[in-house]
Assembly symmetry: C2
Homo-oligomer: 263 residues x 2
């Protein structure tokens, strides 16, 4: 069997779909603070219909901008604890339910991330991910080990990269905000420049359901720096979210009127 | 806000539902080897309809046994790599899609697990989980830390515990087969006797969609022993799966003709 990175998701999407104008975009954002500027900028309205099952905290905003239906979906607040439902389990569920309900042409996973200065990341940089993988699923049995890493190519958006002058880097995903020595070894093996808590799960579901996905990650904290991650993350969250908002808005403008092949 | 363990799932299920005879049971099993003896025993047939979306590898078996509709669902083989799609992301997706499609009265997550001899576990023991939590979601920000741990009570099945003479223990879930020092510290904090790769994700989705869930975990390897986990796991998988099969079969027999309140 071929390893998954031999078959980028681009190849799984039929060429007809790649040539028709993009009309529906889903932007998956894990934290409300990250989503709010975009909701306001595109004047999206929250939808409360029965598209998602009763009882889930998932939040969906919708609006029309130029020729595009734009949806922003968030996993929402944990019903018992009231914090954003970050991480891979919620991200995969929301991505799955959203694709089933909305059949988008493209998914954008936008969010904040930790960056490695040794790989060229600085606070406020916005990266487009070339590929995504997990760094906290260690299964030391042949083939299961590759399954655990779950390496996937992001949809190749070379024109977005060039037009918006973004940095390109590999993204590594895990459910912890901190980084254990084992995580670090896996992140190094993944050759990652940025580290988040959702990307590889979104990529997994997008590939399963054959929807192209791109990943825009803005650096809130330097993982290989000298400041504690949680502190640096909270300190930079608002400012970096503004940089992310700018980039996503420009990406949407660039996508308008184009087909997948032109991204 | 109250921590989640203050509100066991039993309380979220209305009392009328708890008094009506159980008619539909979903057994979620991560690995094909674990599922096969039960599929044969209950003479379940694989269903190939459109209940799950096109392209997903998920497998569903169905049959009628006494007064019960029994479904066994598995995440199936990874399309690119051909190994069972173990872990929390697949488990959460399959549990979600299955609940949406089948509206079961009860979910049983049955599978193999690592056990801690210091907490009384031996090879081949089958545990009923009293509660489940994650051990690889470290988010050192107040309240987010509790969200990461994701402690949940299993549905209390004290009569099953007594009747089948099972051992009771806490279950801790993570996406790695091995155990890093950080995982170990979290497992200790979770006071866990058994360690698996799906339970807490199944519990999360079951609670979200208000379906009671119980967890039957058979010990294939001793985590705090002297044998390498992967080797011990593969060595004991077939024999321990037989013990698990026996226990699930007795559980189904016990459930037949009863309501949730009687479990």
């Amino acid at each position: 069997m071929a390893p998954q990175d031999d078959q980028p998701i681009d190849a799984a999407i039929d060429s007809e779909a790649q040539r028709k104008p993009i009309s529906t975009i889903v932007i998956f954002i894990a934290m409300h603070t990250e989503a709010l500027p975009l909701v306001n900028r595109f004047q999206l309205k929250e939808e409360h219909d029965s598209l998602f099952p009763k009882g889930v905290p998932w939040v969906r905003y919708h609006g029309i901008y130029k020729d595009l239906h734009i949806y922003i979906v968030q996993p929402g607040k944990d019903p018992a604890l009231g914090v954003d439902s970050v991480g891979t389990v919620s991200a995969s569920l929301v991505t799955y339910a959203t694709i089933q309900a909305l059949k988008p042409d493209l998914i954008i996973n936008a969010g904040t991330a930790g960056g490695f200065k040794a790989k060229g990341a600085g606070i406020g940089d916005v990266f487009l991910a070339s590929e995504v993988a997990f760094h906290d699923r260690r299964i030391p049995i042949p083939v299961f080990d590759l399954y655990g890493v779950g390496l996937r190519q992001a949809f190749s958006a070379s024109n977005i990269l060039k037009e918006l002058n973004l940095k390109l880097g590999k993204l590594s995903t895990g459910d912890s905000l901190d980084m254990s020595p084992q995580d670090e070894a896996s992140i190094t093996a993944n050759d990652a420049t940025v580290k988040d808590m959702e990307g590889a799960a979104v990529a997994y579901v997008a590939e399963l359901l054959k929807v192209p996905a791109i990943f825009l990650k803005a650096v809130t904290d330097i993982v290989d720096g000298d400041k504690p991650t949680a502190e640096e993350f909270l300190q930079n969250l608002a400012a970096v979210t503004a940089a992310l908002d700018e980039t996503v808005a420009k990406t949407i403008d660039f996508i308008s009127g184009k087909c997948l092949l032109e991204l």
